[in-house]
């Protein structure tokens, strides 16, 4: 399997990982639950504090 194909599979998995659960949530009917609200609040807090950027993919080249 070529490196390019591996990259393609990786991209597809990234798409599924990032968007799949959210599209499913959006398809569900009813009010947005307190748990979901709490999750968004926590993720915003991680972005605001910079914690969300403290991962290898966010480190610029030296």
């Amino acid at each position: 399997m070529s490196a390019e194909i591996i990259a393609l599979i990786d991209l597809a998995l990234t798409v599924v990982e990032k968007f799949g659960p959210k599209i499913g949530e959006l398809a569900a009917s009813g009010a947005i639950t307190p748990e979901k609200q709490q999750e968004i609040k926590q993720r915003i807090a991680a972005i605001d504090t910079g914690e969300a950027f403290n991962k290898p993919n966010w480190k610029p080249d030296a």
């Binding site: 490196a3 990259a7 990786d10 991209l11 599209i23 307190p34 609200q37 968004i40 480190k59």
Partner: protein, 139 residues
């Protein structure tokens, strides 16, 4: 690869549309931490979604850097995002809080401008991906 990238773009657009739809059609459980404040919730969810697109892009670029070595613009743009996005999101957070506290037209405009910067980066990321694929002449 182009088809996969088109899928990524398509899902990004689909998700952005779905978020907009959520903002119009659903309600918040008032027991939640947003206490029924749908405007703030939608603003936060859009922020998280935009972050996730850029997070996914930088993650993908890092994991596949060797394969993408013949597409230096992809790496350069990923580096730009890594360097500047934290500031973009900090600015967005600041103007969002200002608008929540004082919902004037000026604060709304500042919020929309900060959001536009990040949206432009998301769009540019997908353009770089598409162009780098097209340049190689892949189906």
């Amino acid at each position: 690869m182009k088809k996969r990238i088109q899928l990524f773009v398509f899902l990004s657009v689909l998700f952005a549309s779905a978020v907009s739809f959520t903002g119009c059609a659903t309600t918040l459980d008032p027991q939640g931490v947003y206490h029924g404040d749908k405007v703030t919730y939608v603003a936060d969810e859009v922020t998280v979604s935009l972050f996730e697109v850029l997070d996914g892009f930088t993650e993908w670029e890092l994991r596949n850097r060797a394969v993408l070595s013949d597409r230096p613009k992809v790496h350069a743009f990923a580096q730009k995002i890594r360097t500047e996005a934290p500031t973009w999101f900090a600015s967005l957070s600041a103007v969002k809080k200002a608008y929540a506290a004082n919902p004037t037209a000026a604060n709304k405009q500042a919020f929309e401008q900060a959001l536009a910067v990040i949206r432009a980066a998301v769009t540019e990321a997908t353009i770089y991906l598409t162009n780098s694929s097209a340049a190689k002449g892949q189906p």
